[in-house]
Subunit: 191 residues, 2 copies
């Protein structure tokens, strides 16, 4: 439940209360049904304060997640250019993030999602509304198949993360990025 | 560290001490370097007792893992028949296990491996020595590529588990098994 919050706009307790209320609301009700008003009520603050701190509902959602990259920044890069090479760009980008210092945050998020149903629900909402939804219109497959294809690509990335970065199965764990791109991208291309 | 153990052959404390020592040893030294003698010493029992309770080193390792299926029983079924259809049989079998009551144990093992480095190491040793090693000779790809292909297939299965059973991303989470087999198997076939 929401704690009583302080009065100063920059109060870290207030920020934290809003984020906590937002995580609960997004996980419980889903992204669509969640509202800034409801989150503000649950945090015991004015909705204007939520907007002031975090901007739009989408921006608030991203602030909730500690996601290692901002999809709004990254997806346009992955989706630009030849549709047939989306798979290749996606895998290359994915490896760059996980091989970088941000990979630590990515492993932490994966740990949290696997061990905690709330984080799993949040991550599911996040991947669906902030990533897959933006990717679907760009896919060249039959629109009826696109949602399944998109979740299959998500599963390929999740599996790569599990085996290369968490379980560290060799030789995949130490394979150079270009070898992994060449091996994985054909199956996620044109999807 | 090993606790003092009782004297009766069927003593559950003794069994538990041996299993604990075995998990530590397999995770720390790897399957190859681990020995029944070393595990017995660490558990404070006679090596003959370890053999008596658990049989061979391989059987002891399987007893350590709470793995939802016995690879020694399952792999021959997956590997029998047309090599080109190994991928299809593997995915079908994988879904049957995860969709069954054993799926609960599988999720638990995945949770444990993601949150605990020791379990991750154990699982890595297990997948490498009890599964991948037995699969490699059956693959029809260039033997130089086989280990990487095998770990890529492992990553596909791990990703399917993550997205279908842990994150539950739709429509993959509710897709009928045959739809998933048709979508995933082509990429793991002939590997």
């Amino acid at each position: 439940m929401a704690r009583r919050t302080g009065r100063r706009p920059g109060n870290p307790d207030t920020r934290e209360s809003i984020l906590r209320a937002a995580r609960e609301t997004f996980a419980e009700r889903g992204y669509e049904a969640a509202s800034i008003r409801g989150i503000a009520t649950s945090a015991g603050v004015d909705p204007a304060l939520v907007h002031h701190y975090f901007g739009t509902k989408e921006q608030l959602f991203r602030a909730c997640m500690d996601f290692p990259v901002d999809p709004a920044e990254v997806l346009p890069q992955v989706l630009a250019g030849e549709p047939a090479e989306i798979g290749e760009r996606l895998v290359r980008f994915f490896l760059r993030v996980w091989d970088s210092p941000a990979g630590v945050a990515a492993v932490a998020l994966m740990r949290s999602a696997v061990s905690n149903d709330w984080t799993a629900r949040l991550l599911r909402e996040f991947v669906t509304t902030q990533m897959i939804r933006h990717v679907l219109p760009k896919l060249t497959v039959d629109p009826a198949d696109a949602p399944l294809r998109a979740t299959l690509v998500a599963s390929q990335m999740a599996g790569l993360a599990m085996v290369r970065y968490v379980l560290k199965l060799e030789p995949l764990a130490s394979a150079p990025p270009e070898v992994v791109v060449a091996a994985v991208a054909p199956t996620s291309s044109g999807t």
